[in-house]
Symmetry: C2
Subunit: 305 residues, 2 copies
Amino acid sequence: MILTVTLNTALDITYRVRGLRPHSSHRVSEVTERPGGKGLNVGRVLAALGHEVTVTGFTGGATGRVVRDRLAESAGVVDALVPVGGSTRRTIAVVDTTTGDTTQLNEPGPVITPAEWAAFQETYGHLLRSASAVALCGSLPPGVPVGAYAGLVRTARTAGVPVLLDTSGEPLRRGVAARPDLVKPNAEELAELTGSHEPSRATQDARRRGARAVVASLGPHGLLAVAPEGCWRAVPPAREHGNPTGAGDSAVAGLLSGLVEQLSWPDRLMRAVALSAAAVRSPAAGEFDRAAYEKMLARVSVTAA
Amino acid sequence: MILTVTLNTALDITYRVRGLRPHSSHRVSEVTERPGGKGLNVGRVLAALGHEVTVTGFTGGATGRVVRDRLAESAGVVDALVPVGGSTRRTIAVVDTTTGDTTQLNEPGPVITPAEWAAFQETYGHLLRSASAVALCGSLPPGVPVGAYAGLVRTARTAGVPVLLDTSGEPLRRGVAARPDLVKPNAEELAELTGSHEPSRATQDARRRGARAVVASLGPHGLLAVAPEGCWRAVPPAREHGNPTGAGDSAVAGLLSGLVEQLSWPDRLMRAVALSAAAVRSPAAGEFDRAAYEKMLARVSVTAA
């Protein structure tokens, strides 16, 4: 199976309101709830691609119960989340139906105790034994040490399991130094890591910092991959309009499934770009428009960079 | 015991953020959760005043469980909420810590089925048998007929239980026509009901529409009462600064407890105004600053109007 780790799982709530005006009161016309956190989204896309997936990380409280209940409805995703005393965070996306703009409110997440962090690491070690690859995804909840991903990368490497890291800031900086097989920063995360806003230079620099391969996601401009096997640029046929949330998670699922299936780099990138574009057409992260994906697959342009 | 009815209970969530800007992403620095809905707030204040209180209405889903769990921690409040298939709504108050301004997002609430509405009415009839007074509070969730409060007022009157109605719009208009003992509109609700923005005229008009007594809450200007026994104006000694949410609910608790204790109208109004002012000083609805309340009590001015 493929393992995904989401230390800061979430209940993703979307509100639709007519015109968001600060300092006034709004009736929410529509409420949707979905299990969230990058690794859960990646897991749901992997399952939809036909892979066996186990998700782990932390979950707790009333919101955690909702996340687990909803996850149980996702076919092909095995729940190995570790219970904690605090409450799983909510993220609220307020969609203004008059403009289409989204305003995001993200709770910080539960404070993880040292005992809970130790319990997670034990679970993680057990799960790695039957994993063909692992993705470490998203932000760290309060209480988890900033070097957490670096440790989890090393554990995976020791276990001989290919490891993909998708995070930002200091956890990314430390994680990269632990030599993951693949990192997938977006342009902003890459610039923050390397200090360079020039994607090609920044991607090379991120490799020098320790990542075996770097795939930078450049929004509508597709992906830029730098690996020991070569450098490629993969571009979607047209700019997609819709919901960009979850496009990055779909790209991670594409890269990771391609790695496990031992696809060539160009094929992995084609899949990742097509999944990203299909995710933009879908209303929720962790879902994609399958017809759009299959149609797109042949139309992604991959060129040596 | 005193009965309070909250058909649209809520989980009241408060977020603190640094600067709310539409179309951007925000980290919430602090999250607080409390059981909400006007009748639950009224019930908690009544219990704090030493009254036996039973709360009823609807509750359901994961948010409903949190509301019930929190309510169980409120000493003196008996939970007689009726379970429903839908989920209790959330209300989110986003407090901008840079300006102190609050932006409110209110979910609509669960759709109540005809069977659930019938189950509630049966529970309500049973509870009235041991009630010394009843307060009908707040908005109606989807599925409950717009004339709901009119029916509940009539049931209370038939049972010989004094009934206070605190709602707005069409449910208030229909409820008033069913001749409740007391309505407590704010200035806006009163103007919507009567078409008049002149409080004295509007309050008289609301009585003519069927309410035995009308107490209009005029924000920092206190209360205006029109009853068969006379007319009074009750004014707090100074304008309070703080959180006005729940001031109206505290006034309802003051009026209802005063009615049950057979206080004179001036004493009821003094209590209601002092509780309102003390609630403004408290960070959450359904709570009040007891020292401020007791100090304020002697300083409220009540004059015949």
